[in-house]
């Protein structure tokens, strides 16, 4: 056909690098961070809710009487660098975070098997200290999280992530408790349909004392896409929402029915438009 000949005029496509996109649907798998960042120029408002335990029975309305809430903001300074702030009701905690993409999974001209991001955060517990015998040092209220997020999108239906985690707490309750806690997170996204995915997330606490006193956090959740929004609904044994809480301080046991229902809702606001829309 003559048109095909004309098509040849465009020449061979230059080798391009195809970056994996939508490895996860949001910046969180369910509770923990995913390799995704807010897009450049986007401000995301997060509302995260964990209700009480379902085994509270009808008296506690299966946990719905109680709630732990976190309100947060995250902003994409560039496509690879984001900052965030938040406030969680548990221990009246404020948090500030940084997330940076180090490597992006790609095929083509540049081939990279995995995406790697760094996530770091500082949390400040702002509970009043009632006991006058306890000295109130500001530094005692701080705790830190460092995570490496290593993910691969295996197909449009399956993505997996490993999250080596180091948490440091300036002050712990008892002398035997770990100031430094090591953990390894593992998570996955499995698409059930075009718009619904099943997300699983597990944090294995490695540090001995913490592993003895607490349970590993395990979450089963669903991402539901509705046009411009993604709702995340999940069941977890963790009451806490920030990493400092749900990784080393999970007290619930799935086998005892200590399960919290929870959800994340996020709303994106475009503060800085893509360059194609600026003129």
């Amino acid at each position: 056909m003559a048109q095909d000949e004309l098509m040849d005029a465009f020449g061979e496509d230059e080798p391009t690098t195809e970056y994996a996109y939508a490895t996860f649907k949001t910046t969180r798998i369910s509770l923990g961070q995913s390799v995704e960042n807010p897009p450049s120029g986007n401000l995301i408002f997060d509302i995260q809710h964990h209700f009480g335990r379902v085994n509270g029975g009808a008296y506690e309305f299966f946990g719905l009487d109680l709630a732990t809430l976190r309100l947060g903001l995250q902003y994409g300074i560039t496509d690879w660098l984001a900052i965030g702030i938040g406030r969680s009701t548990l221990e009246k905690t404020y948090d500030g975070s940084v997330k940076a993409k180090i490597l992006r999974q790609s095929t083509g001209a540049v081939s990279m098997p995995v995406s790697i991001s760094y996530f770091g955060s500082i949390a400040i517990n702002t509970l009043k200290i009632e006991d006058p015998a306890i000295r109130d040092n500001f530094s005692d209220r701080l705790s830190y999280v460092n995570q490496l997020l290593i993910a691969r999108k295996f197909s449009s239906a399956i993505s997996l992530q490993l999250s080596p985690t180091f948490i440091h707490r300036n002050l712990v309750e008892k002398t035997v408790d770990d100031n430094d806690v090591w953990a390894l997170g593992a998570g996955g996204r499995f698409k059930l349909s075009k718009r619904i995915s099943l997300n699983l997330e597990y944090y294995w606490v490695i540090s001995e004392q913490t592993a003895k006193d607490y349970h590993d956090s395990f979450t089963v959740g669903f991402d539901i896409e509705t046009g411009g929004h993604v709702f995340q609904l999940f069941f977890t044994n963790s009451q806490g929402i920030v990493e400092q809480h749900f990784i080393p301080q999970t007290t619930g046991n799935w086998l005892d029915g200590d399960i919290h229902f929870g959800f994340n809702i996020s709303r994106a606001f475009v503060l800085s438009k893509p360059k194609e829309f600026r003129e």
């Binding site: 048109q3 465009f10 996109y21 897009p39 075009k194 718009r195 896409e225 046009g227 411009g228 829309f277």
Partner: protein, 182 residues
């Protein structure tokens, strides 16, 4: 005498070259726009390939779906992942012809009829649309505005957002075709 012949030959070769029959661009513009009751959706692609053969009237487009940029990044992700499935169907194509007579050798503005096969999302449809060619010394500036129905290309709108997204999309084409260098 010899020199004059050579100069004449060079001159002749030059005129033949400038009298190109193929016109091409690799950075044409295509915008699509849909104004649903709840959501206004607009995407812009500024890297559209288009070529025209002024002798035969053959007219083609090649469009990379991932080059469409949306104002909301999340929409762009949904567009590629769920609507046009860019991983499976990376390009859209048009292979057609200008069916009416256009005097490409003379500058001016011409109404044109274009007919051919448009392939989006792996589905080929025969379309016939009107457009305008503005022919000048610098090239040919082609513009057109028409509508396509998503269903024709097997692009489904999920139940949750039915009515939110218009089922008919307005396409605006704006390409400046330059004579192709031999």
């Amino acid at each position: 005498m010899k020199t004059t012949t050579i100069i004449l030959l060079i001159f002749l070769a030059f005129t033949i070259q400038s009298n190109a029959q193929k016109y091409i661009t690799k950075n044409g513009n295509i915008t699509f726009y849909s104004d649903g009751p709840l959501e206004k959706i607009e995407a812009r692609n500024k890297q559209v390939n288009s070529a025209l053969n002024t002798e035969t009237g053959d007219f083609v487009f090649k469009i990379l779906m991932k080059s469409f940029v949306f104002e909301k990044a999340l929409m762009q992700e949904h567009f590629n992942e769920n609507y046009v499935e860019s991983d499976k169907f990376p390009t859209a194509m048009f292979k057609g012809q200008v069916t009416n007579d256009v005097e490409f050798s003379a500058s001016g503005t011409y109404e044109v009829n274009v007919e051919g096969d448009l392939t989006i999302h792996g589905i080929k449809q025969h379309i016939q649309e009107k457009g305008t060619f503005k022919v000048s010394e610098n090239g040919i500036h082609g513009t057109s505005k028409f509508h396509i129905v998503l269903e024709d290309y097997d692009i489904s709108i999920p139940g949750a957002v039915t009515g939110k997204i218009a089922e008919e999309i307005e396409i605006t084409i704006d390409v400046t075709l330059k004579p192709m260098k031999k």
